[in-house]
C-alpha cells in the first residue's frame, strides 16, 4: 500500500484558507449586525387584523383626525384603541350591511371586544408615554410613519432603544408645533427652518432625558 501524498496544487489551499479565515469574522460580524438588528427583526410587522379596517380610507381619504378614535393619546400614556361604539358612530348607517363589518356589529351587540392585534409592542420593561410626546409636539408620523397611507398598518420603526435615543439625543429635527402633531403630510423639516426648529425647542422647553430611569423604572 503506497502512502497518500498531497498533490502539488494543494499548496494553493494554504493562502486561500488564510484569506477566508481573515474574511470570515468580518462576514459573520456584518451578518449579525445587519440581520439581527431590530430594523430587520422588529420593523415591518404587519399582522392581519380581525376586521379589515383601513387607515388609508379613514385617516387618509376622509382625513379624519387621529384623535377622533385614539381619544386618550393626549392625556394618557396609552393611545387607546377605540371602543366598538366609536366605529358604530357612523357604521350604524354607513355600510351598515357590509360583510366586512360583521365582527364590529356582533361586538356591538354582544359587548365582547374585537380582538385587534397590537402592532407597536414595546418590551414590558420600557415605559413609553404618548401624552408626554404628543403634547410637546412629537408628531404621530415620527414613530408610526404615514399611517394615513396604510391600508393595513405595519410597524415602520424598529422601536429599539437605540432608535429612541437617536431622537432623545437630538430632538430638534423631530419636533413640530403641538397643533400639527396629527398632520401626517406636514413635515417640519420642509416647513420650518433650522433656526425656527431650535426656537420651537427652546420655547416648548424640550430637553429630553436619556437617563435609564426615564423609560425603565
Amino acid at each position: 500500500m503506497s502512502r497518500f501524498l498531497f498533490p502539488r496544487w494543494s499548496n494553493a489551499f494554504l493562502p486561500l484558507v488564510i484569506i477566508l479565515g481573515a474574511i470570515a469574522p468580518l462576514y459573520v460580524g456584518l451578518f449579525v449586525a445587519y440581520g439581527f438588528s431590530p430594523k430587520t427583526l422588529e420593523a415591518g410587522y404587519m399582522p392581519t387584523q380581525p376586521v379589515p379596517y383601513s387607515h388609508a380610507v379613514h385617516a387618509g381619504k376622509l382625513g379624519m383626525d387621529c384623535r377622533y378614535c385614539h381619544t386618550s393619546v393626549e392625556k394618557a400614556s396609552f393611545a387607546a384603541v377605540p371602543a366598538t361604539q366609536t366605529c358604530m358612530n357612523c357604521h350604524t348607517q354607513i355600510h351598515r350591511e357590509s360583510p366586512k363589518l360583521e365582527k364590529v356589529r356582533s361586538s356591538y351587540e354582544t359587548g365582547m371586544p374585537i380582538e385587534w392585534v397590537k402592532v407597536h409592542k414595546l418590551a414590558d420593561y420600557a415605559y413609553f408615554n404618548h401624552s408626554a410626546h404628543v403634547v410637546r409636539g412629537v408628531g404621530c408620523v415620527e414613530c408610526h410613519g404615514r399611517v394615513d397611507q396604510m391600508t393595513v398598518v405595519y410597524r415602520v420603526a424598529p422601536l429599539s432603544m437605540g432608535w429612541c435615543l437617536e431622537c432623545h439625543r437630538n430632538p430638534t429635527d423631530r419636533i413640530r408645533p403641538p397643533s400639527m402633531v396629527t398632520q401626517m403630510a406636514w413635515d417640519q423639516n420642509k416647513e420650518m427652518t433650522e433656526a425656527q426648529r431650535v426656537e420651537l425647542q427652546n420655547l416648548n422647553n424640550i430637553h429630553p432625558n436619556s437617563n435609564c430611569s426615564t423609560c425603565h423604572r
Binding site: 351598515r96 398632520q183 420655547l203
Partner: protein, 262 residues
C-alpha cells in the same frame, strides 16, 4: 487544480451572498410574522397592560368596568348644569362654573370641533363634512345604496333655525347624549371639552351669520362681503376643506408646557 474544486468553491462563495439578500428582503417588505425577540430579558412579563387580553374574565378584558351601582369618587354626575346642560329644568345658556368663557376655551372648542364634529358637520358647521359627503355618495349610488347605507344629511349647525335657536346647554346635551342618528360623544370627549365645543358652535353661528353692522365702527368693509350670509350654499368651499391648523408659527404654540421636561 481539478476543475471541480474551483466550481464548488465559486458556488460556495455565491451562497455567501444569499443570507444578505434574504435579510435585505425581510427589511424591505412588511410581513405578518411575529417580530423575533432574540434577547428576551424581561420583555414579556406576566403582567397585564392597558387594553390587554385577559383569560381570567369572560369578556377577555383586562380593564374591568365598574361594578354595577358602584360610584367612583368624583363621578356622581349630580351637577345637572355641568353634566346635562340644565339649570332648574331649563337649558342653560351659560357655561358651568368649571369652564371659563375665554379665548382659550373657544380655541380649545375649535380644535375639538375640528376633530370630532367637522367630519359630519363641516369645518364651518354648514353640515357638509367629509363623512357626510361620502355617505351621500354611497346613498346616491346608481345600483342602490352601497351595503345598505342610509344617511340623513348632517345638520347645518349655523343656518338651520332648529339649531341656531338652541341654548348652549342644549347643544352640550346633544353632543353628550346624541340625537336622532347622531351618536352621543360623552364617552369620547371629556366634559369640559364638550362645553368648549358648545361655546365654539355658538361662536361659529355668530360668525357665519355676521352682518356688516357687526364690524366695529371705522373699519372699512368691502361691499360684497357678508351682505347676504344666509344664501351661502351648504356645499360652499369652506366646508370641503380638510382640517388645516392655522397656527404654524413657532412663537405661539397653542398648548401649555408647564409640566417640565420630556
Amino acid at each position: 487544480m481539478p476543475r471541480i474544486f474551483i466550481f464548488v468553491g465559486l458556488i460556495l462563495l455565491l451562497c455567501l451572498l444569499l443570507p444578505p439578500a434574504i435579510i435585505a428582503r425581510v427589511r424591505s417588505t412588511p410581513n405578518s410574522n411575529l417580530p423575533i425577540h432574540i434577547i428576551q430579558d424581561m420583555a414579556f412579563q406576566s403582567k397585564y397592560k392597558t387594553q390587554a387580553v385577559n383569560p381570567m374574565f369572560a369578556d377577555g378584558n383586562t380593564m374591568r368596568p365598574p361594578v354595577i351601582n358602584a360610584v367612583a369618587r368624583g363621578e356622581t354626575y349630580l351637577d345637572a348644569h355641568l353634566y346635562d346642560g340644565v339649570i332648574d329644568g331649563q337649558w342653560a345658556n351659560v357655561l358651568p362654573s368649571q369652564v371659563k368663557m375665554d379665548f382659550a376655551t373657544l380655541r380649545r372648542g375649535q380644535e375639538r370641533f375640528d376633530i370630532y364634529c367637522s367630519v359630519c358637520h363641516g369645518i364651518s358647521g354648514g353640515g357638509n363634512g367629509i363623512v357626510n359627503q361620502r355617505a351621500m355618495e354611497l346613498v346616491a349610488n346608481t345600483n342602490g345604496p352601497v351595503n345598505g347605507t342610509v344617511w340623513v344629511q348632517a345638520k347645518n349647525l349655523v343656518h338651520d333655525e332648529l339649531v341656531t335657536v338652541q341654548p348652549m346647554g342644549q347643544l352640550f346635551n346633544t353632543i353628550t347624549y346624541g340625537i336622532r342618528n347622531m351618536a352621543g360623544y360623552g364617552s369620547q370627549i371629556p366634559t369640559e371639552d364638550r362645553w368648549a365645543i358648545a361655546a365654539y358652535v355658538k361662536a361659529l353661528q355668530r360668525s357665519q351669520n355676521a352682518q356688516p353692522s357687526d364690524v366695529p365702527a371705522g373699519t372699512k368693509v368691502a361691499d360684497n362681503i357678508g351682505s347676504t350670509p344666509n344664501t351661502i350654499s351648504i356645499s360652499n368651499a369652506a366646508n370641503n376643506v380638510t382640517p388645516t391648523p392655522m397656527n404654524v408659527s413657532v412663537s405661539n404654540p397653542a398648548t401649555s408646557m408647564s409640566e417640565g421636561k420630556l
